[in-house]
């Protein structure tokens, strides 16, 4: 699909004038009004709350008392909390495992399906099925086959002497299971983005490469990869940003336990706010997550900025 494709190079002024309707393509007041509903939702539900969180993170908030300005005190407390550091480290591990695991799996599946494949439509449908599954069901499914001692996969691994994935007692095993689960749920997204990108690789160039004696790897490395690189990067950034939010998989498996060993940032935030009523600490965590997300998104945002103003 080439929808939304204003030309990628800066259009020449003459060409731009030619594309304009009589009366110009500058919007009028009524057109700005059409933007209002969407923008009000975004400002009211996301932007203002995010800014307010930054302000909250500088306050000491407790029930029944007015907030008191404490400067960076909450951040100092956060950095002094070893549970926070464990949550941050766990998040780092899980996010990287999930993002790269998914990217490799998604790329492998996309290459597999876009080559010779009978019943391609049905195969794709079956591969994206996990996208429709909610996290609670997904946790139930994976717990079922990996229930300690009695789940069939754990049972089978015990039988052949591999030892089992003891996620309910061993924090490392719990994180492994959470990562697996997350990969299972989100691979369809990565797979589809890469599959769509592979469709745009011109067949003639690949054939030309083969005629010139390129082997499968050379053809992938020098023809396919450059074409799908933008999609690969988009998938990478998007999944980094969304994977950092990981909450349900951990919460539904372990609630961050045992002994807060398996918490991730979102679980730490949720506990601080809604279990311990430490809103200052929770807000500091939240604002840290905002900054982290923006930092990871920065290259993507910069590209979007350039693209949008080039056509402005």
């Amino acid at each position: 699909m080439t929808a939304g494709a204003a030309p990628l190079t800066a259009a020449r002024p003459a060409a731009r004038r030619a594309r304009r309707l009589p009366g110009g393509t500058r919007p009028g007041a009524s057109h700005y009004a059409l933007l209002a509903p969407a923008q009000i939702l975004l400002v009211g539900i996301i932007l203002l709350p995010a800014i307010y969180v930054a302000w909250m993170s500088l306050q000491k908030v407790s029930f029944g008392a007015d907030p008191v300005f404490v400067g960076l005190e909450n951040y100092r407390a956060l950095l002094a909390d070893s549970v926070f550091w464990r949550a941050a480290w766990n998040t780092f591990l899980v996010v990287n495992a999930v993002v790269y695991g998914e990217l490799l799996l998604g790329l492998g599946l996309a290459l597999l399906v876009s080559g010779w494949m009978p019943y391609r439509k049905i195969v794709i449908a079956l591969l994206i099925a996990p996208y429709a599954i909610n996290e609670v069901s997904a946790v139930a499914m994976w717990r079922f086959v990996l229930e300690p001692d009695i789940g069939m996969v754990n049972w089978a691994m015990l039988q052949i002497g591999l030892g089992q994935l003891d996620w309910s007692a061993d924090p490392a095993d719990a994180l492994v299971l959470a990562a697996l689960l997350s990969i299972w749920i989100h691979t369809p997204f990565t797979f589809l983005i890469l599959y769509a990108a592979l469709q745009s690789v011109p067949q003639e160039i690949k054939e030309a490469a083969t005629v010139d004696g390129a082997n499968a790897w050379q053809s992938f490395r020098h023809v396919t990869l450059p074409f799908i690189l933008p999609a690969l990067l988009v998938a990478l950034v998007f999944r980094y940003i969304t994977a950092m939010r990981i909450f349900s998989e951990i919460w539904l498996l372990t609630e961050g336990g045992p002994a807060r060993m398996t918490e991730v940032l979102a679980v730490y935030l949720y506990r601080a706010a809604f279990r311990y009523h430490e809103f200052g600490l929770a807000s500091a965590t939240a604002f840290a997550m905002v900054l982290l997300s923006l930092a990871v998104a920065a290259p993507y945002l910069y590209a979007a900025w350039l693209k949008m103003f080039r056509h402005a």
Partner: protein, 271 residues
């Protein structure tokens, strides 16, 4: 040889993605004591006992599913309405203010949803709207309006402007043009944009966990209660609930597969 390799790769991939779902659906028709039987029984006398117990032991389940239906419908309508209006403007007009607002839409998509629960939870309880459908509808719409706008913009971009101009010459107003000329031609875009909101709203967990307790509680939440009972999980009932919850959305996704691809391309890669 090469083809056999590809086929076995595909078989393994399908097993990975479908096996957990199939196990759950199959097990929901098994008698309680056979669910953990090893080796797993593929041949068994199917029973509806788990479904019967779902109705009798979890009377809130189906009302909660109705909540999910209401919230999903509301969020989808709100999102698609806002997105179509905004998408039209971004498809048809250029300007610095528009570029800035478009960039803002992309930017807010990067913020983690859990962040907004901190100020919004006390704010919504002050407004006394916690535990209502309204709260979830607004939250879900806010987090998907940006993707939906991008999808709509891409589809509206393909509608020839001449059609609109003809209608304008005939004296139609802006809303009439949108409703009578543009909208009928971008039905595919509406489906693609709706699809992502529908899947999200039907399955969402964190906002439902924070903002609903009883009245507006959605299906994933009652299922999480089944999963976290202290006296052992009743797997039969949980699997029956999971099957009922996932059947409609899974059928929908499989039927609308091509819209998923079109929407992702228009919304994520181009945006």
């Amino acid at each position: 040889m090469w083809r056999a390799l590809r086929l076995s790769g595909a078989a393994a991939a399908i097993a990975w993605s479908v096996f957990p779902i199939a196990m759950v659906v199959l097990s929901s028709f098994k008698p309680q004591r056979e669910i953990f039987a090893i080796p797993p029984q593929l041949v068994f006398a199917p029973t509806l006992d788990n479904y019967r117990r779902l109705v009798t032991e979890w009377p809130a389940f189906f009302p909660n599913m109705l909540n999910s239906l209401i919230v999903t419908t509301g969020a989808t309508l709100l999102t698609v309405l806002c997105a179509t209006l905004a998408g039209y403007v971004y498809a048809r007009f250029r300007g610095r203010i528009l570029a800035l607002s478009a960039f803002f839409m992309v930017l807010v998509r990067m913020l983690p949803p859990i962040v907004v629960t901190l100020p919004l939870f006390p704010f919504f309880s002050w407004l006394q709207v916690n535990d209502t459908h309204f709260v979830l509808i607004v939250l879900y719409a806010a987090f998907f309006v940006s993707l939906a706008t991008w999808i709509m913009r891409a589809f509206i971009d393909q509608v020839p402007r001449e059609l609109e101009e003809a209608a304008l010459v005939d004296g139609a107003g802006l809303f009439q043009v949108l409703r009578m000329v543009v909208l009928p031609l971008v039905v595919n875009g509406v489906i693609a944009a709706s699809l992502f909101v529908i899947v999200y709203a039907w399955n969402e967990f964190i906002f439902a966990l924070v903002f609903t307790t009883r009245i507006a509680r959605t299906t994933p939440l009652v299922m999480s209660e089944m999963l976290s009972t202290t006296d052992g999980v009743d797997w039969g009932v949980l699997f029956a609930a999971a099957t009922v919850q996932l059947a409609p959305i899974l059928a929908f996704i499989l039927a609308a597969q091509r819209y998923v691809i079109a929407g992702l391309t228009a919304g994520a890669v181009k945006g």
